[in-house]
């Protein structure tokens, strides 16, 4: 708890591990083109947990794809000081592999020797509280467990920066709460830098050191705010709810002001 608070307090001073500067992204050409992102600038400090909130279609997923290198920006620069892991909206587990093999694949693809993989995969499954479930195939697991395996696989990439694209959107509220705990736990235990995209304002406040609001048409950052609330936070607590209400109002205002 104190660690997170310290990290949150140091945001202004710490050197950014990730620096996005005036980035724009245009899809298509000429009359058919869509401006997905316009003039987006964002610095993220090492160890920081940043949540990005916006309506669907505001370009938040596009921004993550750019950071992950899955797509290239049309303009602007990005400096990414460390390797990046990605957690998708869907668990995207490979159905022909067991949970353990899914995690081990990430280890394999980053060059870990075969004899070390199984043990490490089991450790990672244990880290997301799935010990004993390694031999199950994805379809034998619940939605929440699948997303835990995806989290373990994400950790297996051993990247200091982790991007999460609405990874809990499809889960029921209770499972989602547990996964919030899980994610917060690994974030602290491993000193990760996390950028977490969501359309749920309370979720953003529940998790983030800092909440970044994005507006649509074109996608841009309209506001950001540090969240000094102590951890662990509870999504339904009055503190979180109050902040969520005020940030939601701000997002609506800013959105309209910009669109005119």
């Amino acid at each position: 708890m104190t660690v997170a608070a310290a990290v949150a307090g140091d945001v202004g001073l710490a050197l950014p591990i990730l620096s996005i500067c005036n980035v724009g992204k245009v899809f298509g050409r000429g009359d058919d083109s869509t401006v997905a992102l316009q003039d987006v600038s964002l610095d993220v400090a090492a160890g920081e947990f940043v949540t990005i909130v916006g309506a669907s279609g505001c370009g938040k997923s596009t921004l993550l794809n750019l950071v992950a290198g899955l797509d290239q920006p049309t303009s602007g620069t990005m400096q990414i000081g460390a390797r990046v892991a990605f957690m998708f909206q869907e668990a995207t587990l490979l159905p022909w592999m067991t949970a353990r093999q899914n995690v081990a694949l990430a280890l394999k693809l980053r060059g870990m020797p075969k004899r070390e993989r199984q043990g490490r995969a089991d450790e990672l499954l244990e880290a997301v509280r799935l010990e004993g479930w390694g031999d199950k195939r994805p379809h034998e697991l619940s939605g929440g467990m699948r997303q835990r395996v995806a989290l373990a696989r994400c950790l297996a990439q051993d990247a200091p920066i982790v991007l999460m694209d609405e990874p809990l959107g499809a889960l029921d509220a209770m499972t989602r709460d547990h996964l919030h705990d899980e994610i917060e736990h690994v974030w602290r235990a491993q000193g990760l830098t996390i950028i977490f995209v969501t359309h749920n304002m309370r979720e953003a406040i529940r998790l983030g050191d800092r909440v970044v609001l994005m507006g649509s048409h074109p996608g841009r950052i309209v506001y950001e705010e540090s969240i000094p609330l102590p951890h662990p936070r509870v999504m339904d607590s009055p503190d979180v709810a109050t902040r969520a209400a005020s940030l939601t109002a701000r997002l609506k205002d800013q959105g309209h002001a910009h669109v005119g």
Binding site: F88, P95, R110, E140, S142, H178
Partner: protein
């Protein structure tokens, strides 16, 4: 923070040994009775046609007589040597088709210009009756093994290639994205993600390829008869020439049964694969 029971509730339970045994017997019965019923129906209709006197029994023998001939045939050396010749041809032909079809399929799926050039040609080849290749095959290779293999491969390879292509085409884009995120390069992307994901369509292609190979092989053995080398197709032809109707029908039954057995192997492999992936309920 404690592990939550509702999340960790097992979705499936391992059945106990006795349950498994009982389950196996039930499953075997469930598998066997529709097939037994089908066989009884076919034999019954056949028998009724024979009784109707539509054709004399020296042309259309009864099921009983045919099965008796089949039983006697199983004791002859000639029969087993015919089976051996035919099955060796089938295995070699199918193996060649497998290698060629797979290689062509991967290349066509990966290389765009190649796809535009030969994609529809492959489907065209698939619709071409393989027996239409035989006159050319005989001109090219003479009345010999190569002529048969040539046609078997041409019959089976397009189906296998199409299986590979449709398998690769239908790999979910999210899997490819995942591979990229995990740092897979072209080779590892194909080996670890794309090809395994394409397996169900590939096995469907193999199953269809086998059916085409078996048909082509029988056509070939009827047309390309090599002296002193009995085969199932050659046996059919001899039975017709010497008007041995029971032998003819018995050989046809053998051809049907072998075709179905091999198809059954492919299907059961495909089923177990689909079950493992949660695409089919056990």
């Amino acid at each position: 923070m404690s592990a939550d029971g509702s999340i960790l509730t097992p979705v499936v339970d391992g059945p106990s040994a006795t349950q498994a045994d009982a389950g196996f017997v039930l499953k075997a019965w469930g598998w066997a009775w529709p097939k037994a019923l089908a066989i009884v129906l076919v034999l019954g209709i056949w028998q009724v046609v024979v009784w109707s006197g539509w054709r004399p029994t020296y042309v259309l023998p009864s099921p009983g007589e045919t099965l008796q001939t089949l039983w006697g045939m199983l004791g002859t050396e000639r029969f087993w040597s015919a089976i051996q010749t035919t099955m060796i041809r089938a295995v070699i032909g199918f193996a060649l088709a497998l290698v060629i079809g797979t290689a062509v399929g991967v290349l066509v799926a990966r290389i765009r210009p190649l796809r535009l050039a030969v994609g529809s040609l492959i489907t065209g080849l698939q619709t071409m009756p393989s027996i239409a290749w035989f006159p050319l095959a005989i001109l090219l290779f003479g009345l010999d093994e190569q002529a048969i293999l040539f046609v078997v491969v041409l019959g089976a390879a397009p189906s296998i290639a199409n299986g590979v292509i449709s398998g690769i085409d239908h790999v979910p884009p999210s899997f490819v994205r995942l591979g990229t995120v995990l740092g897979a390069k072209t080779v590892s992307l194909y080996r670890d993600i794309v090809l395994p994901a394409a397996m169900p369509a590939y096995v469907a292609g193999l199953t269809q390829g086998w059916a085409f190979a078996w048909r082509s092989l029988m056509a070939g053995e009827l047309l390309v008869i090599i002296a002193e080398r009995p085969s199932l197709g050659a046996n059919l032809e001899f039975a017709r020439q010497f008007s041995k109707a029971p032998l003819l029908l018995a050989t046809m039954l053998v051809i049907l049964i072998i075709g179905m057995l091999v198809d059954g192997l492919f299907s059961s492999y495909a089923r177990s694969m689909r079950r493992k992936r949660g695409l089919e309920v056990a």
